[in-house]
């Protein structure tokens, strides 16, 4: 394996670690719920269930806000 290939592998591993860390930090609350639902087969409380659509709509409101005009 030449130096370029080794560096490329190292970069790939680093990126994977970065992504895993980001996923844990940013979507942790959702993943925790998925773990409880799928792995532990626990039901969410009614309050937790009710909170999910609220968070989904909050994120959607940011995404759906009108975009500024096309920039040059």
């Amino acid at each position: 394996m030449d130096a370029v290939a080794i560096l490329a592998d190292a970069k790939a591993v680093f990126e994977l670690l970065q992504l895993a860390l980001r996923a844990k930090e940013e979507v942790g609350p959702y993943l925790d719920k998925l773990d409880r639902l799928l792995v532990k087969h626990e039901a969410l409380t009614p309050e937790e269930s009710a909170a999910l659509p609220i968070e989904r709509r909050r994120l959607s409101a940011i995404l759906q806000a009108p975009l500024p005009p096309e920039r040059p």
């Binding site: 895993a20 930090e25 039901a43 975009l67």
Partner: protein, 165 residues
Amino acid sequence: MKLCFLALLLLPLLAVGGCAPFNSIGGAISTAAGFSISQSQIDIAESTYGSLAVFEVEYRCRYDNSQAGCVDPRTGAKIQQNDCRAGQGPSLANGFCAQRAVVVRLQQSDKVAQDALDKVQSDFAACKGNAADPTCSGLVAAYNTASTALIAATALATQYGFGSK
């Protein structure tokens, strides 16, 4: 790698979309289509889509960070815009080069997914209280529509490689 992560996200969607019998947590409704639907399944769809939406929002904020919610959840700092305007070029430090056309496609797929999830939840609630339609024919249609919408949204996110830095 990012595809691996998104594939992990997709698994529960496929579990929902695959119409496989689930458990009876949360009071599952047995449908005429031969499978049951429970509040837990709807929660899985909500949770999984929420995971995806975090990255969709980040992409939008990379293009236009004027929204108050365009903040990095780890630091609370404003997400850096990186729209690759002519003469400025993309900044490697700011991550990927966001494109308006992609944001528009994300908005479209998000709208379909949001409407579909809301329809499933409302039909589920209506079905539980409707003795005249114990097999919940409307819910099955809403459920299948939502499964399709969520898988499509995930595929779009995969195509544009969310989560990459």
